[in-house]
């Protein structure tokens, strides 16, 4: 499903035109993004949660140079799906 399809379906469901639907979608996404920029966790009921997690520094291997390297600590966006989303996606309860 692309953004265009999502906007079209949203416009149809809410009985608004596609431009307005696009604006609403952008506003919603911006709201989430703003919260994430402040490193807040965004928890959406029956959907999932977005959070910013710390990734500790870690040794790795550079095969081209055949040497070790160090990936410094950094932060990463993490999404965890809610149980109802997982069930819907698997079309059956995940035992």
């Amino acid at each position: 499903m692309t953004t265009a399809e999502l906007v079209k379906a949203l416009a149809k469901r809410m009985d608004i035109n596609q431009r307005q639907a696009r604006l609403l979608l952008d506003a919603y996404v911006q709201a989430i993004t703003r919260q994430l920029a402040e490193k807040n966790s965004v928890i959406l009921r029956n959907f999932g949660s977005f959070s910013v997690k710390d990734v500790p520094e870690k040794r790795s291997y550079v095969p081209v140079k055949k040497s070790l390297c160090l990936i410094p600590a950094h932060q990463k966006l993490h999404f965890k799906a809610a149980k109802s989303l997982k069930d819907e996606v698997n079309q059956s309860p995940v035992s």
Binding site: L10, M14, F50, K65, L68
Partner: protein, 503 residues
């Protein structure tokens, strides 16, 4: 880092965009619903300037039930992943951390990486460049240990004999620190270069202080000799012994295979014997009411396992009589057995019966549930008929069975569209035990594939026809008699050579 809930997002939208709250609330719910539906339908939802929600298949794995602490099987399922777009990624992690190399002294192998802790870089030992090293014949190996000789004051004959061409530019940069030195050094001085070579003689360590010397021990000598022996070409006796190893290994594998095969066959015998015993004893001994209740669930499943086992034991039997679907037999048999059911006498038989029932529950019931349910299915992103056949029939080669049932809907069997609604037809038999109808359907599916490939100009068209004949000869013959197939002479010969498998 605090937790923020949906309401905060709505407030944000209201204040920043000036939108009415009920509209915004409804929009938020609809958007999430649509993402959910899009994921369930297509497996991927891409929102520009935000990110992509994607489903990824996770294989079945063994886990532990956290409540009961018993091992359990976590079934294969789909997991939801979200990958943010670049702008969002960089918002969270502003400067991408550079990868810092770790020096080679600490071990440059993966195993060293996992085991060794990260230590600060050791200072690299400075190369010992002494005047003596310059006298060596190979000027490129300047960092070799100096020979164990007393320090030379200079003026060595070998040095004076060296011509300008033999001395590399590196060595010409060396200062003539020795006033007593004669020969080329005075003439060979070029512009001063900042390097270790420029150190005055007093700072350079003497030979005795050199950090490494060649050890002339016996141990090192024998060590190198042993090392060489590993890599020299094998003698005849060694070749024979290594070949013997291969023969032994092959023989061991054969023996193992024979033992496993015999064990499997014997297992089948035991399972057939057990229900025979239970039924014999059930006829003899009268039943207690409690025993009936406990055995009623076990005996039907024992019967199903017996019936499953019997066809498996005789795959070579001719498939003339189409076996009735196994699901219909066990309920009838179970009803009969439950009516007359007394208990099995010994504990061993109950254990065997329980094992059989567990096996039946886990394998047969699940397999039958798929084989005997005609399922509607919506295509997801990145899926193919082969995958569906693998998932539903555990036999990807039977994908034409699905194709022929949806021939009106599917235009191109190689490219199914996301969101397409198709029907997964039931497979009457099992993949290793197909019924006549199954084979006819699969052959039809292959024939349709042949037609499509011919139309499109795919080079594997004829192979599809051969496969159709492999499953059912009659399908091909019918279409040929009706004149739907035009074959070249070579193709006719090959088709004549193709035989229908007994399956």
């Amino acid at each position: 880092m605090s937790k923020v809930y949906g309401q905060t997002l709505l407030d944000d939208m209201v204040h920043s965009q000036g939108l009415p709250l009920p509209l915004v609330k409804r929009a938020a719910n609809e958007i999430l619903d649509l993402i959910r539906e899009g994921l369930a339908r297509d497996g991927v939802v891409n929102i520009s300037h935000f990110g992509t929600f994607r489903l990824k298949a996770v294989a079945e794995r063994q886990g532990i039930n956290p409540q009961t602490r018993q091992p359990m099987t976590i079934p294969a399922h789909q997991r939801v992943f979200f990958s943010p777009c670049k702008a969002l990624r960089e918002l969270i992690q502003p400067e991408h951390p550079a990868v810092v190399p770790i020096p080679a002294e600490q071990g440059s192998s993966r195993t060293a990486a996992r085991s060794a802790p990260i230590a600060p870089a050791a200072p690299i030992a400075s190369k010992q460049i002494t005047p003596e090293t310059i006298t060596s014949d190979e000027p490129a190996v300047a960092n070799e240990p100096p020979p164990a000789e007393p320090p030379v004051d200079g003026g060595t004959t070998s040095f004076t004999e060296l011509s300008e061409t033999q001395i590399t530019s590196v060595h010409t940069a060396t200062q003539p620190v020795e006033e007593t030195r004669q020969g080329k050094t005075e003439a060979a001085v070029s512009a001063p270069v900042e390097s270790d070579f420029e150190k005055p003689h007093e700072q350079l360590p003497s030979v005795e202080e050199a950090p490494f010397t060649i050890k002339d021990d016996e141990a090192t000598l024998t060590g190198t000799m042993e090392l060489e022996s590993e890599f020299r070409p094998k003698t005849e006796t060694e070749q024979k012994s290594s070949r013997k190893g291969y023969y032994l290994g092959g023989a061991a594998l054969l023996v193992l295979a024979v033992v496993m095969a015999s064990l499997l066959l014997r297992e089948g015998d035991e399972q057939v014997e057990v229900p025979a015993q239970t039924t014999a004893e059930s006829i003899e001994a009268p039943a207690a009411p409690a025993a009936v209740a406990t055995t009623a669930p076990t005996t039907p499943k024992v019967e199903t396992s017996a019936q499953q086992v019997e066809p498996e034991q005789a795959p070579a039997e001719p498939m003339a009589a189409t076996p009735t679907p196994p699901a219909e037999q066990p309920p009838a048999a179970a009803a009969e057995e439950a009516m007359s059911a007394p208990s099995p006498a010994t504990a061993e038989e109950t254990v065997a019966a329980e094992l059989a029932s567990v096996k039946a529950k886990t394998v047969t019931a699940q397999v039958q549930a798929f084989f005997f349910s005609e399922q509607p299915y919506t295509m997801k992103n990145g899926e193919s008929l082969w995958r569906l056949a693998r998932r539903f029939y555990q036999a990807p080669l039977l994908w034409p069975h699905i194709y022929q049932a949806n021939a009106a809907i599917i235009i191109n069997p190689d490219n199914l569209l996301t969101g397409q609604q198709i029907v997964i037809p039931t497979l009457q038999g099992k993949p290793d035990q197909l019924t006549r109808t199954d084979r006819r359907n699969i052959a039809e599916g292959y024939y349709l594939t042949y037609l499509h490939y011919k139309k499109v100009g795919h080079k594997d068209a004829f192979f599809a026809l051969l496969e159709a004949k492999r499953y059912d000869n009659k399908v091909v013959e019918e279409h040929r008699s009706l004149g739907h197939i035009r074959l070249s002479k070579v193709e006719e010969i090959l088709l004549g050579q193709q035989e229908t498998m007994p399956f």
